[in-house]
Subunit: 343 residues, 2 copies
C-alpha cells in the first residue's frame, strides 16, 4: 500500500508543495479555487498529514529531551515524573537519554538530538556537575544552546549564561549540619561522591563553614569521597568506622550513599541513631523504604522537573524567563538521626 504524501496532493492539485502546506497549516492565505482543489485531493486520497511532515513545515517537533546520568538512581525518575506531567499538559513528548555519566555519550546524544530537531533539552548530571568542566565540553553545550533551548537542572556551566534551575545544595548541607549540631553532635563526618564534582565540593564547603561558626573543624580523615552508589557509601563508611576515632554523626552526599552508610554501621554492630546518626540528601523514595527511615534533605525533585519544563517552554515560545530559579531545600526528619550520647 502506497502512503499518500504531501507531494502526491500537490501533484494531484497541480500546485506546489508549499501551497498545500499553507492550506494544511493555515499559515498564509490561498486563493479560494486553489484551496478547493487541494481539499478535494486531500479528501479523495484520504490524506492525513503526519506529525513529522507537519513539524517539518512548522519547525517544531513537540519533543523535548532529558539527558541524565543514571535512571536507576531514584532521584532522576522523580525529576522525570514531575517534568513529564507538565510536558504532557503542554503537548510535548519526552526523549530520555541515559548517559551513564559518560561525557562522550552526552556528546553523542547532543548531536542526535540536534539531528532530531527537538524543541528543547533538559540537562542533568555529568559535565554540568564538574567543578572544573573542560572548556571543550562546556563549549559544546553553549553552542548547542544557540540552536536549541537548554535548561540545566542542578548544575552549571560557568560563564555560559544558560538558563538553570537548581536546589541550593549549599543551603541543604548547612541545614543538615545545623540539625546535627542542634542534636548535640560535634564529631561530624562527611561521605561524598566523586571529589571532582560540584555536588560533593559545594556540600563540603558549606559543612565546613557551618561547623566553623561553632568552632568545630571538619577533620580531614572524616571526609571520605568515592562513588555515588549504595556500595560506594558502604565502602566509605567502612573506612570511616575502621578508624580509631569515629564521628558520632555522618552527613552523606545523597540517599544512595546514606543507605550504604547505614548498612556498614549495622555491620559494625552499631545502632542507628543510638550509636551513630546518619543524614541523607535528596529525599528520594528510598529514604522511606529503608529501616530506619532516613533523615534527609528534600530537593523538591518533582518540582525541579516541573519548573524545568515550564522554563524550557517559555524559552521555546520566544519568551525570556528569568535566567535562574533557585529552590529552597528543607530538612525531612525521620529515624536515622538522634541526640548525641556519650558512649
Amino acid at each position: 500500500m502506497k502512503t499518500i504524501t504531501i507531494y502526491d496532493i500537490a501533484e494531484e492539485a497541480n500546485v506546489s508543495v508549499s501551497t498545500v502546506s499553507r492550506v494544511l497549516n493555515d499559515t498564509a492565505p490561498v486563493k479560494a479555487s486553489t484551496r478547493e482543489k487541494i481539499l478535494k485531493a486531500i479528501e479523495k486520497h484520504q490524506f492525513q498529514p503526519n506529525a513529522l511532515a507537519r513539524s517539518l513545515l512548522k519547525k517544531e517537533t513537540g519533543t523535548i529531551a532529558m539527558i541524565l546520568p543514571d535512571i536507576t538512581n531514584p532521584f532522576f525518575p522523580e525529576v522525570f515524573w514531575g517534568a513529564e506531567n507538565v510536558a504532557r499538559s503542554k503537548g510535548y513528548t519526552f526523549f530520555l537519554c541515559n548517559t551513564a555519566g559518560d561525557y562522550s555519550r552526552e556528546s553523542e546524544y547532543l548531536s542526535i538530538l540536534r539531528e532530531k530537531r527537538v524543541d528543547g533539552i533538559i540537562f542533568l548530571g555529568g559535565r554540568i556537575n564538574l567543578s572544573n568542566c573542560p572548556p571543550e565540553l562546556s563549549q559544546e553545550v553553549i553552542e548547542m544552546a544557540m540552536r536549541v533551548p537548554i535548561v540545566l537542572v542542578n548544575g552549571n556551566l560557568p560563564k555560559s549564561g544558560l538558563h538553570r534551575i537548581y536546589t541550593d545544595e549549599a543551603e541543604g548541607a548547612t541545614i543538615a549540619t545545623q540539625h546535627l549540631i542542634d542534636l548535640g553532635h560535634r564529631d561530624i563526618g562527611f561521605i561524598g561522591g566523586l571529589d571532582y564534582t560540584s555536588t560533593t565540593l559545594v556540600k563540603v564547603k558549606a559543612i565546613k563553614k557551618k561547623l566553623k561558626e561553632y568552632g568545630i573543624d571538619l577533620k580531614k580523615e572524616w571526609i571520605q569521597s568515592g562513588e555515588f552508589s549504595v556500595q560506594g557509601g558502604r565502602d566509605l563508611m567502612n573506612k570511616m568506622l575502621n578508624q580509631v576515632r569515629r564521628p558520632s554523626a555522618v552527613l552523606c552526599v545523597n540517599d544512595f550513599t546514606a543507605i550504604g552508610a547505614i548498612k556498614a554501621a549495622f555491620e559494625h554492630g552499631l545502632r542507628i541513631p543510638e550509636d551513630i546518626s546518619i543524614v541523607g540528601f535528596d529525599d528520594s523514595p528510598l529514604s522511606t523504604a529503608v529501616i530506619p527511615e532516613l533523615t534527609t534533605i528534600s530537593q523538591n525533585t518533582n518540582q525541579l522537573g516541573e519548573l524545568a519544563v515550564e522554563m524550557l517552554d517559555q524559552i521555546i515560545n520566544g519568551n525570556n524567563p528569568k535566567k535562574q530559579i533557585v529552590l529552597k531545600p528543607y530538612l525531612v526528619m525521620r529515624q536515622s538521626t538522634g541526640p548525641f550520647k556519650k558512649i
Copy 2:
C-alpha cells in the same frame, strides 16, 4: 536567517524533490549530470538534510518508544537501562512514556506515537497485565500493531498474536514457594498487588499449586491484595499480622511490597528472618538496599529490556522473529528468609 530546505535545492537544480531525495539517500540511480547539479546546489547553500526530513523520505525515524506504568518503581528503570544500551548500538533513540497505570493515558500515548511515526513500541504494564483486558483496550493495541511493530514485555493480550517477551512469573512464584518449603515453612502467606492483574493472579495460582503438592492449603485470610507500593505492602502485612494466626513466611508480589512487609514486621516487633521470612520478586536494586537484604526472584530485568529491543529491531527490519521469548526466573537468596523455627 532562512533555512535551506530540500525544496530550495530542488528548485535551484531544477529537478524534482524526489530526485534530490534519491541523491541524498542513494536509493536509486540518478543521471550523472543531474547528480552533479544537485550536489553543486547542496554545496552552494551548505545544505544539511536534517534527521526529520531524511526520516520522512526514508520512512523511519530512528526512534522507539517505551510505554510503562511507573518509572519511579525501580524495576522499570532497570528494564529501560538494558533496552537503551541495545537501542543505542542500533541507532535508536527512546521516547519514554510514563502512564501512571492510567489506560486513557496509554491510549493518548499510542496516538501520539503513531503521529510521531516511531519505528516501534515496547509496551509494559497497565492494560497488558489485566487478567481480563476489555476488548476495546486490547483492540486498540492490536490495530496499532498493524502499523507500528510492538513488543509486549511481561504481559499479554490474549489472542492478539503480538510479539512478547516475559519472565515466567508462575515459575518464579513456584521457585519461591519451594524455597520456603525447603526451609521448613508450612504456614505461608501471600501479599499481592491489585487483584485484577495477571501479575498477582498468576503468582497466587502457582503458589497454590506448589503448596498442594505438599498437602498444604493457601489460607484465604493469608492472601492479601492491594497496591503494588511500599505503603501497600506495609498495610497488607499489618492486616496479616493483626490476625490471631500468623504465617511464618510471606511471599510478596514485588520488591516494593516486600519492603513494606519488612517494615510492618519490624513495627510488630518481629525479627527477620528469625520470626518471619519474607520473599520479594523482581530483584530490583532496592533488594540490596534494605536491611535485611531481600531474598527475591530475579526477573532478569536488564536482559528483558535488551531482548525486547532485539526482537523489536527484527520486526522493524522485516524479519520474522519468534513470537515469544520466555526468560527463566531464578532465586536470589539473601538475608530475609531463614529456617522455620517454632516460636
